[in-house]
């Protein structure tokens, strides 16, 4: 059974600081997704990582995937208040178009 764990679950960071959110998963997969959710809103796709070593960047966020370690990271550079949200990673099982399994999410709060 595929399990996805994120840590930390809660993160309070100061503006301007850097931090990393970790996403570990339990079985082989070659696809990993990062989503953002603002309070009371739906999920917005941030990154789709499709191969070992994949790295994608958008603004102050950078995501990477290490399929051998079954680990993805979401790195935040010089945090700003607008990044405050809940971030989810999700993984597809190796058999392809099986449903996503989500982590429990990391609630990020960026404070001045």
């Amino acid at each position: 059974e595929l399990k996805v764990e994120q840590n930390p679950l809660f993160l309070s960071m100061q503006e301007g600081k850097n931090y990393t959110i970790y996403c570990n998963y339990s079985t082989t997969s070659d696809r990993l997704y990062w989503y953002r959710q603002d309070p009371g809103k739906s999920l917005e796709s941030l990154f789709v990582l499709l191969s070992n070593g994949a790295v994608k960047q958008e603004g102050r966020l950078m995501a990477s995937l290490d399929t051998k370690a079954r680990l993805s990271t979401l790195h935040i550079t010089a945090a700003v208040h607008d990044l405050s949200a809940t971030y989810f990673c999700a993984v597809v099982g190796f058999s392809g178009n099986t449903p996503l399994v989500f982590g429990k999410g990391t609630r990020l709060s960026v404070i001045a």
């Binding site: 449903p99 429990k104 999410g105």
Partner: protein, 113 residues
């Protein structure tokens, strides 16, 4: 394109009442999903469909039924609502094959008293 839409946006039910949530997508996606989101639990898959006329159970299917009579619509039914079904429900869709990126609807906030 409207993307993925959900009806209704909010609903309050009494225990034992029934209702149907409608999900519609205009992207010609083959796969559709229903999730529930509860505080601290992330998203949990209820049921999903890989094509018109086919459905399958997810992680938490009990108390729910689904139907996919048309490719663009995926219905989630609660036959006899219970307080434990108070949640936010999200529908999502994706194309078959490809990167499997899921696109989410705006959600339905359901309260069962």
């Amino acid at each position: 394109n409207a993307g993925v839409t959900q009806t209704p946006k909010f609903r309050v039910l009494k225990t034992g009442q029934s209702m149907t949530l409608l999900c519609a997508q205009d992207m010609n996606h083959e796969y559709m999903y229903w999730y529930r989101q509860d505080p601290g639990m992330g998203l949990r898959l209820i049921h999903y469909s890989v094509g018109e006329g086919t459905t399958a159970k997810g992680e938490v299917p009990d108390g729910y039924n689904v139907s996919r009579l048309k490719k663009q619509n995926f219905l989630l039914g609660l036959e006899s609502a219970a307080p434990s079904q108070t949640s936010v429900y999200f529908c999502a869709s994706t194309i078959a094959g490809g990167p499997n990126e899921q696109f989410f609807g705006p959600g339905t906030r359901l309260t069962v008293l």
